[in-house]
Symmetry: D2
Subunit: 364 residues, 4 copies
């Protein structure tokens, strides 16, 4: 394909360490082919308001791979298939503005869009692809819960930050004979909790995939106490749930189940442990600390490989696909395939077995 193409890139959903690396690699690889490349700010919304489109050049992206966030600015500006539109009186309704997006895309002469995002963004990308827009997807999810790829960028960074936090909590928990409950990201999938909990030498790991029994957690911690380990670290994914439970936890995701518990799952677990064991117990929510900042080397490289592969996929005419990591190589999968699977921790997989072998309890 010797024609000089004109492509664009947007980043959707929450920010993840590595977004800027994708942007850098896409820009460099496009420039290498003497293509033009543009960044669309604010997700798809930028195609509604063409003031939000910026030219990307090697100079603009020089060295951004090391930076957190995204130079394409605010990422969560809505789904063009049901975009909230409000009148001056403040009354809002959802409208399908996808036609406008498609129209602007063509009018601006773009040959392809590289859409970076999680499952929400991939669904939108697939709908546009089905409508004839040439799209390549780049997977992004800190929680690592996106199908079709073994790993996504951002996950290694988040797991590393969580592990470092757990490492730090050991010394203070030990110095005070205390139970520390630390909440990490993972609404639907417990990968961050599982991996950081094992690496960080936790005593208990609670994940959405394995419902927990608070009595078993307490029994495990008191058993440790008898063996001379008078402190404990409990790592809990934000989406962990009691078995057969009716507990409702407050979280960013809103409320579920029946009873409201202020402060999230970590505070709930800490209170229950404290009241049942009498141990000094504290909770801590890592929250946004896991999302920001410079990506690890692993995430930087993976994001750069994804970005360059997306450009090569456009060159090869493989539109409608998502780049993915398979057996340490970049592969292309259909968006349908990526969206057909919800990736979750395998309760019988070797990582969970490793935890059990190391005498870590899942409260089950």
């Amino acid at each position: 394909m010797s024609r000089r193409l004109k492509i664009c890139i947007n980043t959707g959903g929450g920010d993840a360490p590595g977004l800027n690396a994708v942007i850098e690699a896409v820009t460099m690889a496009a420039h290498h082919r003497q293509w033009e490349v543009y960044g669309i700010r604010s997700g798809y919304a930028g195609l509604l308001n063409t003031n939000d489109i910026i030219r990307l050049t090697p100079k603009v992206v020089d060295g951004i791979a090391i930076q957190g966030g995204t130079i394409l600015g605010s990422t969560n500006k809505g789904n063009p298939f049901r975009m909230p539109v409000c009148n001056v009186a403040g009354d809002c309704e959802e409208r399908d503005l996808s036609g406008k997006v498609l129209e602007n895309f063509k009018r601006l002469g773009f040959d392809a869009l590289i859409a970076v995002g999680g499952d929400g963004s991939m669904e939108i990308a697939k709908r546009f692809s089905d409508l004839g827009m040439p799209v390549i997807g780049v997977p992004k999810t800190i929680d690592n819960d996106l199908g079709g790829t073994e790993m996504t960028f951002g996950f290694d960074t988040a797991t590393g930050i969580a592990t470092e936090a757990i490492d730090r909590l050991h010394s203070t928990a030990k110095s005070h004979d205390r139970i520390m409950v630390v909440e990490v990201m993972g609404r639907d999938a417990g990968f961050i909790a599982l991996n950081s909990g094992i690496s960080g030498n936790a005593d208990v790991i609670l994940i959405p995939e394995i419902p927990f029994d608070i009595d078993k957690i307490c029994a495990h911690l008191m058993g440790n106490e008898l063996n001379g380990r008078k402190y404990g670290i409990v790592v809990v994914a934000e989406g962990a749930m009691p078995a057969g439970g009716d507990v409702v936890v407050k979280s960013e995701a809103g409320l579920g189940r029946e009873h409201v518990v202020l402060g999230g799952i970590a505070e709930y677990v800490a209170q229950e442990i404290a009241s049942r064991t009498g141990k000094d117990t504290r909770s801590l929510v890592l929250g946004h600390l896991q999302r920001g900042g410079s990506p690890t080397t692993f995430d930087r490289l993976l994001a750069l490989r994804f970005g360059a592969a997306a450009v090569r996929a456009i060159e090869a005419g493989k539109l409608g696909h998502m780049v993915a990591l398979k057996s340490d190589r970049i592969a292309l999968v259909t968006m349908a395939e990526a969206l057909s699977v919800e990736k979750r921790v395998d309760p019988r997989g070797d990582t969970v077995l490793t935890a059990r072998d190391m005498d870590i309890s899942f409260g089950d």
Copy 2:
């Protein structure tokens, strides 16, 4: 002093990065003089129960300076001048067991005690010193609020961790046009908030020494928005208070003032900002993350210098003193001097002026 002395060391209060470095230096310096050195576990309580005393040798302390926490174990086991004593029925009363501590100290043949701790520990050390026990104090306070010394170990580490957290929050706050309110340690003194807030390029810093007006904070943030900075970082010390306020905040320290606010000062500030500006605002409490883990090089070195200087002070017969940092040299001050001053941020000092020069608001 050519006699082979027999000395001991205890660590009191909350743990701080650098405690193990003090222990390592004391042990090495004592060994260098062919003295015997013992570690008393659980603060002064170890002198009540002599099972809690361990021999310290170069082999035991090899390489511990890099580790967080304290190898002398749990640190908060009470004040021997009013130690809680409970009978089997669970009825407790406070008793003065200082005589027992003194008696054991002499019976075990110790020539001196090195007491590492904050103002509470220094007060106890001074009382024992007044009763004739040969004591050298080593200052320890993460908040940097102890008089008599320009700096204590642990503070640089805590400030570094807070700054790194603020650095991380920038990228996510910026990507989402969000206000992030982050609570750091500092019940009485705002040094950690001030130093990490300036280093971390915060927009607002709230410290106990400068009561804040929530309206001024909001005006500052909205002014930034007009200038194109659509996100904001607010760093708040746990002890920050509204001017003329009657707000009560929940914290580890207990309650004060009148109205109960769940979740601490950061959540209160975040809620107020959100309701007044309509901005997406989140809060985060760093909590124990600031206390644990490996000390920075600065803290390691300072703690090692303190430990070795304490041994030299014993050798020189300068008992009843505390080691201190003055103009980058180790000095000895009397414990009375150390306890006579409460160290606080100087609202007219150059660090606060630096913040104001950099357009950071204190909400005043």
Copy 3:
């Protein structure tokens, strides 16, 4: 298998971040099954001198996963199939002491050996396995050049350290319009150079798999200069070689080819660039910095998974195998399979393509 087994573990070859994590996981998983586990110091040599065998318990290994090095001490004590034996006169000869190793192994009642090491260690392990010793291999190579597994522990840490070093060199190279040549590990395989060079935004990457032409390197750097980038970073693997070259470089590995160049490949490349371009050019050898210290979270987890999987392999009777990472799962491969392939950078693989797309030159 309900019998209580008695197993042992040794670590061979150079140290790698993660060795202690393997030891911790093996110990915990064995203890979980109420097995006894022993550590053999000094590689296989410890089975010749049974003073070098220590009991491993949960208490001994508590928290060691975070530490660099290996608690089993010095690792390079020779191959028992040709062990140097010297008399008092200092005359040495190589003897086959494998029979003695086997005999002691049986006499001590061990049911299995977990042998951790690189290709050298795996070859020895295979020979003992062929002689009837029940062995499970755990792959260890910082360079990532071992076949049969997608990844080994230590590699992520080394790549991260190299990338951080490259990041640091950018600012000083840029401030002084300088070319910096940095030598990283990789005698036969260029994975560390390739991955850290891409992540660290290098201008040139030189690896053993792609022989380089110094003139092309200089042309690339001078081209950058014309485009306004007046400084440059060249990352060179220790085993990189000029195309058709007759250059001999000094390295730990000894000498090869014809002409002796003092100081290694980095100094050679730096001198050539300086003399041809006239640019201020400096070289730096990272050396042992890449090998020591705490493993990354990724390496810690991988090493723990390998260790626990090795114990499960013994339980399942799968002796003579090596644990391996395949598609993010732990698999078992025969030692023959692991040894049959030399893992190298694929010059047509997507990672090399990513580098080329980002305008990084391989000097070819």
Copy 4:
């Protein structure tokens, strides 16, 4: 002073972590007063070629404090009092262009210059100040060898990097029973070697202020071996010298004394130790790794305080002074005072005593 001033800033000498923080604080503090501020690229040379002057605004400096290097670009472009000037034939001579600098300074309407640099830059600044140019100095030296101030920015970062490197070397030295000799910066003053050596638990520290005897170093290391410590770490400042020695070492600074030793002082020391003790001994030069990259929180804050204080000094009319750190406060000292003292490690100071108390040898 209510007039709107117009000021400029330059950065001289080698780069140091914190230069950008000074630039950020100067810009913000000037903007706060509604002054205009300009950055002079390439040291004083930018005042000879006014194309090298850029306007600094809050937007330009936003967030640069965290970055290494200097946005004012290449720093070493010569002394205007003896600037090399070459004709087309390549013949060069040194000319005094200070008049031209002064003339441009006035012509451009600048009210003051903030000169950031080490002793060389401060000498030039003083000469311009004596000629009537309104100058404020900001001290910068990684080696911490500048008089008049207790500390300069860059030093804490460099010491931290050196300590982290030493930490890493421990595990590999220990695993292989090896002596590692690591060379750190410090041509005239040994502060980095001393502080990182103590913090990093070295066995031997060699600094310019204490000439060493290689036999005493070997005796110390062999004594450790007898006590069971079979490995060793030797930290050597690049300017360390043997006592009564006639050894010449190659370094950036050029050659001195009599005999040429290739590879610098670390290689020399390593070779001597290896030949006298027979131990496996390796050397490593940290070099530019210590200079680049993001400053520590301590350095960031100090640099920001220096920058803001420089602007306040201009406002207060205190020209001809240098900002300095004294007893944890920013003070102003005359440039003459700063230049009158060469700051060196005090061989009888408490830090050296700490090292000796910890059984670290200086080879004396």
